[in-house]
C-alpha cells in the first residue's frame, strides 16, 4: 500500500510517499500564495520521484497551516500529531519533539507509538521561530544558510535580552554600532532563540530522547545552544524538516 502525506506550512510545502516499508519521495518547495497549487505541485514531484501515479496512492493525509486547502486529501490532521508520529519514525526512542518552523514553534511530549501526550505552542510571536532568525540575518546582511556556523564560531555572545523581535532587532543594531564583532552578535541571537524555545518546551516536561524538527533544525547553532539550555543531547534527523509530512503519510496507513 502506498500512502502520501502533504505538509503545507506558512513558507514551505513538503510531500512524502510511504510504501514498501520506506520513504519513497521527500520533495520540498516554497508554498507561495496559492496553497492548493503548491500542494498539487509538491505532490506531483513526490509521485515523479517515487515513480507512481496519483491513483496508486491509497490515502492522502494533509497537515500544516494550509491543510484544509489541499485538494484530494482524505483526512486532515494537525501538525502536532503528525510531527510526533514522524519524529517517532525517524527516532523510535523519542520522548520530546521540538519543532521550530518558519512562523511557529512547538514542544511535544511523545509516548509509545508516537502518540501525543501533551504539547505547547507558540504561534503568536515571531521570537522563538524561524522568522526571528530571518529578520536578524537580514539586519546583519548574513546568508541564513551560514547563520548557524557563524554563531558557533564566536568566542563570546552578545547579550540580546528582549522578548520582542522588534526590540531585539534594535538591540542588534546597537551592538553593531558599538563595534561588536558580527559573529558574537549572531551567537547572541542564537542564544536568544534557544532560550525562548527552551522556556516554552519546559512546560511539557523534557525527557530524552529529544528530537528537533522543522526548518530551523538544520541550524547547528540553534541545535547546540538548545542542548546547552536544556542540559540534554538533541538528535537532529536528516529528514527533520519533513517530520510533519512523514507523520501524515504514516497516519494515512491507519
Amino acid at each position: 500500500m502506498y500512502t502520501a502525506g502533504v505538509d503545507i506550512g506558512a513558507i514551505t510545502a513538503k510531500a512524502v510517499i510511504f510504501g514498501d516499508g520506506e520513504l519513497l519521495a521527500t520533495p520540498l518547495i516554497l508554498a507561495g500564495y496559492d496553497r492548493a497549487a503548491a500542494a498539487l505541485q509538491v505532490l506531483d514531484q513526490a509521485l515523479a520521484q517515487a515513480g507512481l501515479t496519483r491513483e496508486q496512492i491509497a490515502r492522502l493525509v494533509a497537515t500544516g497551516y494550509g491543510r484544509v486547502q489541499v485538494p484530494g486529501a482524505d483526512r486532515t490532521v494537525t501538525e502536532i500529531t503528525c510531527h510526533a508520529r514522524g519524529a517517532h519514525y525517524l527516532c523510535p526512542d523519542v520522548h520530546t519533539v521540538i519543532d521550530i518552523g518558519g512562523q511557529d514553534s512547538k514542544g511535544i511530549a511523545v509516548g509509545a507509538g508516537g502518540k501525543v501526550l501533551d504539547f505547547v505552542m507558540n504561534d503568536k510571536c515571531a521570537a522563538g521561530t524561524g522568522r526571528f532568525l530571518e529578520v536578524m540575518a537580514h539586519a546583519l546582511e548574513v546568508d541564513l544558510a551560514d547563520f548557524g556556523q557563524l554563531a558557533l564560531s564566536a568566542p563570546r555572545r552578545a547579550n540580546i535580552s528582549s522578548t520582542c523581535t522588534v526590540f531585539a532587532e534594535s538591540e542588534v543594531i546597537t551592538h553593531l554600532a558599538t563595534g561588536r564583532p558580527r559573529a558574537e552578535i549572531v551567537a547572541g541571537i542564537h542564544e536568544a532563540i534557544a532560550a525562548r524555545v527552551a522556556t516554552m518546551v519546559g512546560r511539557v516536561p523534557v525527557r530524552e530522547v529529544i528530537v528537533l524538527t522543522g526548518g530551523v533544525a538544520h541550524n547547528a547553532g540553534v541545535a547546540r545552544m538548545l542542548e546547552e539550555k536544556l542540559g540534554h543531547a538533541i538528535f537532529v534527523p536528516e529528514h527533520a524538516q519533513l517530520a510533519g509530512a512523514i507523520g501524515a503519510a504514516l497516519i494515512a496507513r491507519e
Binding site: Y65, I80, T81, K115, D118, F119
Partner: protein
C-alpha cells in the same frame, strides 16, 4: 450551519432602561427591581481605537472593549453601568469610566474578597444597602423589599432554565455554539422574554448524533470566553459537557431565597457561588470543584480559555492545571485576545482532540 440561536440579538435601543454591567458579581436583581434591564457588555472583536488612549495595552480586552464601545458612542442608550470589585483592571476601569464616560453613571459594587467569613458577610450586607441607596437615587424612587423578592423569583426562573440547558449539555446533547449562544442570550435580553422564549429555542435544536465518540470537554475561563472558540470546538468534533466559566454554569447554579430579608438573600447567593479567581474561600476551592465536575461529567479533558493579560485567571490556571495533572486529566491552554485567530485556535483544539481520541 445556521443555528436558531444565532439571531438572538437585542439592540440596546429596544430595551427599557438598559443598565450595562461587567464582572460576575453584580447583584443584577437589585437593578431589575429598580426598573432597569441589566445586560452584560460582552467584548466584540472589532476595536474602534478609543480604549487604548486610556487603558494600556497590557490589560485584557474584556475590559478594554467595554470602554472602547462606550467611548465610540455605542453604549449611549445605557441608563448606567455597574461593575463589582474583582480584579485590578476592573478597579482601574471604574476610575477611567467615571472620568471619560460621565454621561453613563457608574456603580461600583464592593464585593468582598474573602468569602466564608462573618465579617465579610456583614460588610457585604452594608455594601448592598449602600448600592440600593445609590440605585434608588438614579431611579428616582425607592426599591421596596417586595419588588426585590419578585426580581429574585424571576431570576431564579431564568437560572433554573439555564441549568436545564447545562443538563442537556452534560449528556453531550447540545452543540457548543448553541449552548453558549443560549447562555449568552440570557445576559442580553429582558429575563421575562428570555424565560418565555428559551423553552421553544431549546426544542428547535435538533439532538446531536450520539454515534461518534466525541471527546467530552470542560471549559475554564473568564466571562463567557469567545464565540469563535465554541465554533472551533464543535468543528473539531468535541462536546462541552460543563464549565467553570465566570459567567457560565457557576453563575446559574445557586438560587436566591425568595422570602425573608432580600438583601440577605442576595448576599448569601453571591457568597455561595463557586469563587471566581479574584475571590478567596479557604475551604471551597476551584480546584476541588473542577475535579468533581470532571468526575461527574466523565470529561475527557479541560480547555482553559484565558484572556491575554488576565492575571487572576493566569495564576489560577497554574493551580488548576497542577490539580488536573495529579488526577491525570489532560488539558489545553488557549489564549484569547482582541482578535483571536481562528486558525491558531483550530490547530490547538484539533491537536488536543486528536490527542484525546
Amino acid at each position: 450551519m445556521q443555528s436558531p440561536v444565532s439571531n438572538l440579538q437585542y439592540p440596546i435601543s429596544n430595551l427599557q432602561s438598559p443598565l450595562g454591567f461587567l464582572t460576575a458579581y453584580v447583584p443584577e436583581e437589585l437593578f431589575h427591581a429598580a426598573g432597569f434591564t441589566p445586560i452584560f457588555i460582552f467584548h466584540t472583536a472589532d476595536a474602534h481605537g478609543f480604549a487604548r488612549a486610556h487603558l494600556p495595552g497590557f490589560t485584557c480586552w474584556v475590559a478594554g472593549s467595554a470602554l472602547d464601545q462606550a467611548l465610540a458612542g455605542r453604549l449611549d442608550g445605557l441608563a448606567g453601568m455597574a461593575l463589582a470589585q474583582t480584579c485590578d483592571t476592573t478597579q482601574g476601569l471604574t476610575d477611567l469610566w467615571r472620568r471619560n464616560v460621565p454621561h453613563i453613571p457608574l456603580f461600583h459594587f464592593g464585593m468582598p474578597l474573602r468569602l466564608g467569613s462573618p465579617s465579610a458577610r456583614a460588610y457585604l450586607l452594608a455594601e448592598l444597602q449602600s448600592l440600593r441607596e445609590r440605585v434608588q437615587a438614579l431611579a428616582g424612587r425607592p426599591i421596596p423589599d417586595d419588588a426585590l423578592r419578585e426580581s429574585m423569583a424571576l431570576y431564579n426562573r431564568t437560572r433554573a432554565l439555564v441549568r436545564r440547558l447545562y443538563a442537556r449539555a452534560a449528556l453531550g446533547d447540545i452543540a457548543p455554539p448553541d449552548l453558549y449562544g443560549l447562555v449568552r442570550a440570557a445576559f442580553q435580553m429582558p429575563k421575562e422574554t428570555y424565560n418565555q422564549e428559551i423553552g421553544s429555542k431549546m426544542q428547535e435544536l435538533s439532538p446531536l448524533p450520539s454515534c461518534a465518540p466525541a471527546p467530552l470537554l470542560l471549559l475554564v475561563g473568564p466571562a463567557l470566553a469567545d464565540p469563535v472558540l465554541f465554533d472551533v470546538i464543535a468543528q473539531a468534533g468535541a462536546r462541552v459537557v460543563g464549565d467553570l466559566l465566570d459567567l457560565g454554569e457557576r453563575y446559574f447554579a445557586v438560587d436566591a431565597v425568595e422570602h425573608g430579608d432580600p438583601l440577605a438573600a442576595l448576599a448569601d447567593r453571591l457568597l455561595a457561588l463557586v469563587p471566581t479567581p479574584t475571590k478567596h474561600h479557604p475551604q471551597r476551592t476551584r480546584a476541588a470543584h473542577l475535579l468533581s465536575l470532571v468526575q461527574e461529567r466523565s470529561a475527557d479533558g479541560v480547555i482553559f480559555a484565558r484572556q491575554k493579560f488576565c492575571e487572576p485567571h493566569g495564576f489560577d490556571y497554574v493551580q488548576l492545571a497542577h490539580a488536573l495533572d495529579q488526577a491525570g486529566v489532560p488539558h489545553l491552554l488557549v489564549e484569547l485576545e482582541q482578535a483571536s485567530q481562528a486558525g491558531q485556535l483550530r490547530t490547538r483544539v484539533e491537536a488536543f482532540v486528536e490527542m484525546l481520541a
